[in-house]
């Protein structure tokens, strides 16, 4: 599991460095997609701590969140409304909530193990 994560991260960084840069006006979309992806990952970690992690839910959430956030950002651009701000607000909000939940669960699990 750890090996898969490390290899994935290193390969991703390498490809990211070698890939041609995108025009500045599109960087907003990538930024929103990154926040959506982070949200999914943090959500997955929380679910693992709670013990109800589901691979299918995680993978579908990862891609739909990313794509939908990009679509909404484009839609907002057309309507001249900064929807991406709302999207980022929601994602960051959920990331922090999930981190706190994961932290609590992690400590509870540790305590249970200690008692055992």
């Amino acid at each position: 599991m750890t090996i898969a994560i490390v290899i994935g991260c290193i390969l991703g960084a390498l490809v990211g460095i070698l890939a041609p840069t995108i025009p500045y006006q599109y960087s907003k979309y990538t930024a929103v997609a990154i926040m959506a992806a982070f949200d999914s990952v943090v959500g997955a970690i929380t679910a693992m701590q709670q013990g109800n992690f589901n691979m299918k839910v995680f993978v579908t959430g990862f891609f739909t969140n990313g794509l939908m956030s990009i679509v909404f950002t484009m839609f907002g651009e057309r309507l001249d409304v900064d929807i991406y701000l709302a999207a980022i607000f929601v994602f960051v909000d959920r990331i922090f909530k999930n981190i706190s939940i994961a932290r609590r669960c992690f400590m509870e699990n540790k305590e249970k193990k200690m008692k055992e």
Partner: protein, 245 residues
């Protein structure tokens, strides 16, 4: 949590995508930042240019306002007295000679433009020196000189009246005339006998002919009536004093 091969691969792919997007974004931002700075700098410079232009226009407005005031005074005083009226007449003539009034009459209009299209290809191929194909300050000087010789009474280049204190000077890529800077195309207007001016300007081996040889676009138009604007700055004498024997 199942630790099958499929799960590992999926996690790996997810990590790959996430890292890829993050590094990509960071690189894009770091590249774009310098561009944004450059754009900002350009915008600031443009603002400054606009500000100076506004100031220039303001000064020009004030200049013309003062000029009309002077005229008013002259008219007012000439009405009251016959001697003053005579002086006024002399002053008007002097102003006409000095190029301080707009003049109207028959004349010619010469259009000059840098070589385009075909020769551009030749220049890029390195066959010719590009300097040959552009209009220089010396060309304009020679044309003005030739027009004077042909009896032109008033000459202007791109609306700048050639007065006794006018310079025609090369300033880098542009030509400064009366302190204003111009690049091609140039429109030279000369007031005088249109037929005589035209024939003397289109002499074989003359300046316009040699410019045509260098593939510069030259056209001469005879005009029934052209208006040449006055010298738009003040003629000043700081050192010259009248001397009587």
């Amino acid at each position: 949590m199942t630790k099958t091969k499929g799960t590992k691969i999926t996690i790996g792919i997810i990590c790959f995508l996430l890292m890829f997007m993050v590094t990509w974004q960071i690189r894009t931002i770091s590249v774009s930042e310098s561009e944004i700075l450059r754009l900002k700098n350009e915008n600031e410079l443009r603002d400054e240019v606009n500000q100076w232009k506004d100031m220039y226009n303001l000064a020009m407005d004030k200049n013309s306002e003062l000029r009309s005031k002077i005229e008013e005074y002259q008219n007012a005083s000439s009405e009251s007295n016959a001697t003053v009226a005579l002086i006024k007449k002399e002053l008007d003539e002097a102003n006409l000679l000095a190029g301080l009034v707009d003049v109207k009459g028959p004349g010619i209009r010469i259009n000059l433009d840098d070589t385009k299209a075909i020769n551009q290809i030749a220049i890029e191929a390195g066959w010719y020196d590009p300097n040959v194909f552009v209009i220089h300050d010396s060309d304009l000087l020679m044309i003005a000189n030739e027009l004077r010789a042909a009896g032109a009474e008033a000459i202007s280049i791109n609306g700048q009246r050639i007065s006794s204190q006018t310079e025609i000077r090369c300033v880098g890529p542009v030509i400064s005339i009366n302190g204003a800077k111009y690049a091609a195309p140039f429109v030279i207007e000369a007031l005088g006998d249109a037929d005589y001016l035209t024939s003397s300007m289109s002499l074989r081996g003359g300046i316009l002919d040699s410019l045509k040889q260098a593939s510069i676009d030259v056209t001469i138009d005879k005009e029934e009536e052209i208006i040449i604007e006055r010298y738009n700055r003040a003629l000043t004498n700081k050192y010259a004093k009248p001397f009587e024997k």
